[in-house]
Amino acid sequence: MAQPDNFGFGEEAALLKASARKFFSEKFPTSDLHALVAGDHRPERGSECLWNSKLWQEMVDLGWTMLAVPEAAGGVGMPAVAVAGLAEELGRAAFPCPLLGTINATYVLAACDSAQSALAEIAGGCSASLAITNQAGSWSPGDTDVVWADGKLSGTAWYVQDARKVDRLLVSASSTAGVGLYWVAADAPGITLVPDTILDLTRDQAHVSFDGVAAEEVSANGLAALAEAMPAVWTVLAADIVGAAEWQLQTTVEYVATRQQFDRPLGFFQAVKHPLVDVMLQIDQTKSLVYNAACAIDSEPERALQYAHMAKASASETAAYASGRSVQCHGGIGFTWECYVHLYFKRQKHSQMLWGDAAWHRARLADIVIGPLAPAGS
């Protein structure tokens, strides 16, 4: 299948992206974000789950959480390029909410054989998150510490994103038959949710223990479903990174255009100007790769894996570089809690590693492009 020249980014997608940007800039300026999540600066403040659930409900009412749900399951069935556009705007606002988790769960469920009722729940406004990572933090889909036996889940899922904000969990667990996927209410009896203390103030994270928890099996062949859906998971997160990096660039450019030293705005000096141009170059390459990957998910699925590895590898580099320059170019004020750049710095550091960092994705890309690495010693 061939990709359309314009990434398939049509009028509806453009409208959605524009309205999302307007929504966040009007209803949730960065000052609100800072007031919401940065009230307590003490490192020992512990793990808090601070978010605006009223605005989240507005997003749900706008239908944003069901965009990726196929029409057959009661959703909107928007293409991945449109979803990427929304994720980019979410990242630009760094809005704390389980939108990405819900979208991730949607893509995995859509690749499962018997997930119609779970998808219908998402279409009905349920939020969800993936619980598919083990304690070692392996990003290889299917590496799970949870076991499925006698119709019950046991064990612990780690690095569960926005766990305290969601209604449902989509859990991967191993059984004698392989790795399956299971749909369960986040507050089901037997579930213990232990919040992690994390750097990122715009997310929450937890490890979730299952002690003989009854759950609905949505796929007995979880590896296949995850393999199909992970390119979308990586691409959507990469889109979020692009939006956040664009905020970092714009905010830093505004600062260096205003701040005067040596009788000139800082941006006059090439030691400041050129690195900011490099941030722009990285953002643009990542953004182009994100829409290429999203378009592949929609219309060239045989290339989606390869393109999504490229997008997330590029995004992780961009997250790191844009973050570093945003703090450095702000100088002393950038090193303080009162300056907003730390909110995005921390969100980006989290996104950089989440679902695989640049080296992880490049290693897998190399396996595809060059061929697998021969075993050591051969």
Binding site: D5, N6, P265, F268, K273, Q285, T286, M310
Partner: protein
């Protein structure tokens, strides 16, 4: 069907089919001489004649200058040069020799010359019969281009030109030169004017062309000295004192950011020439043995090859996104990155290839054991031509910082 074909207008679709059929039937025979990496390195008349014959054939068939009006020798089509380019690229045809003419002189002449001059110059430019060169840089005016000192003094209907231009690619074959010079010494920018000059006719009569030897040992560019050269006022483009504005048209097109699409054939991907791409690098790494194993099996080198591959894909997708307004926040943002990214990425790819080569990176052109005939070394050194010419990477970053990010001008 190619990706881009799916979005063709009816005119483009029909033209694409025509191009494909014509190329299939008229592909030139393989050259009997080694062709250089690009037209900028043409050294011999044998190389030039082969490439000129190809450009003339393509022009006569309507594949060059497609989007220019018929009155100036163009095809009078709409957005069809891109189609012809895509088909020639896909067919890996040879490149065109008149690269400065097509990419820089043609749009400048088209936008700024009198009709009579356009009608006279452009057909022979498109056909490649007249090779063009560019007289911009001088020994004292590189990145600070507006400080050029070559001076034209008025003498009735004529101008008398004195000065010294450098890095003039193709001047030794060129009939014509686009020339930025000074007509007023009291104003830096507003004292500049722009001419087209028939330099070949004036060799030995006011014009001297001397080859400069490049870092690679190849010739290809020159210095050009003007010693009381008389030219007619009708060769002036646009108004007196508007040279800087005219030069911006040239530079915009040179950097691939102009309105008119430059006719391009095979370029670096043409048959028989060596492309500095990550895929070629990966192929090379499969056969390059390091510590008894193919370099393609070294995890660190694999990682760096993937970095290059991703950057190349990012650039290609930028070019695609540049045509999707809904995914652009600033109209010039991607176009202005093109030259900077393309030159730096290929430089890094060539540099990595030389690391992959290990000990054999020491072997140069002519050594029977040199990997790829020494082409990686050649490509690496030539890549500095790309990051320096047409505005150095540093100047490109200034332009991007100032015009796109809106930061204070560094001059």
């Amino acid at each position: 069907m190619s990706d881009s074909a799916s979005k063709d207008s009816p005119e483009q679709a029909e033209f694409r089919e025509y191009c494909r059929t014509w190329i299939e039937a008229n592909r030139p025979p393989d050259p009997t001489v080694r062709l250089p990496l690009s037209a900028l390195e043409i050294m011999t008349t044998e190389q030039l004649s082969y490439l000129q014959a190809w450009q003339k054939a393509a022009y006569d068939a309507g594949l060059v200058g497609c989007d220019y009006p018929a009155a100036v020798g163009g095809g009078g089509r709409k957005d069809c040069q891109r189609v012809a380019n895509e088909e020639m690229l896909a067919a890996r045809t040879p490149y065109f020799p008149n690269i400065i003419g097509l990419g820089m002189a043609a749009p400048t002449v088209f936008y700024h010359a009198q009709d009579e001059l356009k009608e006279r110059l452009l057909p022979r430019l498109f056909s490649g019969e007249d090779i063009w060169c560019q007289g911009f840089s001088e020994p004292g005016a590189g990145s600070d281009l507006a400080s050029v000192q070559t001076f034209a003094e008025r003498k009735g209907d004529k101008w008398v030109i004195n000065g010294h231009k450098v890095w003039t690619s193709l001047a030794h074959f060129a009939e014509w030169m686009i020339l930025l010079l000074r007509t007023d010494k009291s104003h830096k920018y507003d004292g500049l004017s722009y001419f087209v000059v028939p330099i070949r006719a004036a060799l030995g009569k006011g014009v001297t062309v001397r080859p400069l030897i490049k870092i690679t040992g190849e010739t290809g560019f020159n210095e050009v000295i003007f010693d009381n050269l008389e030219v007619d006022d009708s060769y002036r483009l646009d108004e007196l004192g508007k040279g800087w504005q005219v030069a911006m048209t040239t530079l915009l097109h040179e950097r691939g950011a102009g309105e008119l699409q430059t006719p391009r054939a095979g370029g670096l991907k043409s048959k028989g020439s060596h492309a500095t791409t990550a895929y070629n690098l990966i192929d090379f790494a499969r056969s390059a043995i390091r510590d008894g194993h193919p370099a393609a099996q070294d995890p660190l080198l694999r990682d760096r090859m993937m970095q290059q591959l991703i950057c190349e894909a990012g650039l290609a997708q930028n070019q695609r996104r540049a045509r999707v307004p809904a995914l652009l926040d600033h109209p010039m943002r991607l176009q202005l990155q093109n030259k900077l990214l393309a030159s730096e990425i290929s430089q890094d790819t060539a540099a990595l290839a030389l690391e992959v080569a290990g000990a054999s990176a020491s072997l140069y052109l002519g050594d029977p054991n040199a990997p790829a005939g020494g082409q990686w070394n050649l490509a690496y050194m030539n890549s500095y031509g790309m990051t320096i010419a047409a505005g150095t990477s540093e100047v490109q970053r200034n332009i991007l910082g100032e015009r796109v990010l809106g930061l204070a001008k560094s001059k």
